[in-house]
């Protein structure tokens, strides 16, 4: 329970988490993230569709939250890259997401995440991402030097 409170506190220190209005909680299946609908999240006014970037940001943060939870005491995970598949139109209602770590290495975590609205089996978008993790020292040694 303390761990969840700690995770929420770490997430809420990120301006982006607050600006999106997302929150995370634990349920029977693990960590679940919620993005309550607000007008600001709309990308296409005519068809009332959520902005792909808002969905992407939410998925990236959900994946990041899962990594923070599984790497206690580690650095703030840094995104190396990500791919988002947009599978269905995001409608003007709440969005939910879960992430799963497919490989947790010493320096790199591979993560998948999916976001849905009514039905978890009908995802709106799916993300694959890599994060730089580990201790401060390890992170420094993997950072590429500027030419």
């Amino acid at each position: 329970m303390d761990r969840n409170a700690d995770l929420a506190a770490r997430l809420n220190r990120m301006g982006m988490v607050k600006s999106l209005g997302m929150r995370v909680e634990q349920d029977h299946a693990g960590l679940i993230a919620h993005l309550p609908f607000q007008d600001d999240l709309i990308g296409n006014f005519t068809i009332q569709a959520l902005h792909g970037g808002a969905i992407g940001a939410f998925l990236e943060l959900t994946a990041m939250a899962e990594v923070i939870l599984k790497t206690e005491g580690g650095i703030q995970p840094k995104t190396i890259n990500l791919t988002i598949d947009y599978l269905r139109q995001g409608r003007a209602r709440d969005l939910h997401a879960r992430a799963r770590i497919t490989k947790l290495g010493r320096r790199i975590a591979s993560v998948r995440a999916e976001a849905w609205q009514e039905n978890e089996s009908e995802p709106v978008a799916a993300l694959t991402a890599h994060f730089l993790i580990g201790t401060e020292e390890a992170a420094d040694s993997t950072r590429t030097a500027d030419p």
Binding site: G15, D40, L41, T46, G53, A57, T79, L82
Partner: protein, 145 residues
């Protein structure tokens, strides 16, 4: 399209919230600027802007680059988007975005995009995406694919 450039992001609530705007449009090519803001930080210790801002910015510009490549207006929907982060954005500095629609078929548009402070020689992030070009149909069904 060029005449309405400043209105384009004003009509998109999420773009308006993030505060980015389009600065230049050429055929198949769009440029924009995303001002730095603490509201969208991703790392509380450094104040570095969250990747989600760059995802939103480059996704939006890439979609517009498709619009700027098409002969007539058609709605486009992102199929997939890949972002590679090369280096963190500097705290307090505007981010320049640039998107290019480099290939069109009848149904799909392919794009590349870049985010940087000064020039493409030193990028913060690159993106590549594919967009579905929606058929012209009744407004009630627009946007589905």
């Amino acid at each position: 399209m060029r005449d309405n450039m400043h209105l384009m992001t004003q009509m998109t609530p999420w773009a308006r919230k993030l505060g980015f705007r389009v600065t230049r449009i050429e055929r198949a090519h769009v440029w924009g600027v995303q001002p730095w803001s603490a509201d969208f930080s991703g790392d509380p210790d450094t104040g570095v802007i969250h990747g989600g801002v760059i995802t939103s910015f480059l996704d939006n510009l890439s979609g517009m680059a498709c619009g700027a490549a098409l002969e007539q207006f058609r709605a486009v929907a992102t199929l997939d988007l890949r972002i590679d982060y090369m280096r963190p954005a500097d705290q307090g500095r505007d981010i320049i975005g640039e998107a290019h629609c480099y290939h069109l078929t009848r149904t799909i548009a392919f794009t590349h995009a870049w985010a940087y402070h000064e020039s493409r020689d030193k990028v913060i992030a690159t993106a590549s995406a594919a967009f579905a070009i929606n058929k012209i149909r009744a407004p009630s069904s627009a946007g589905s694919f």
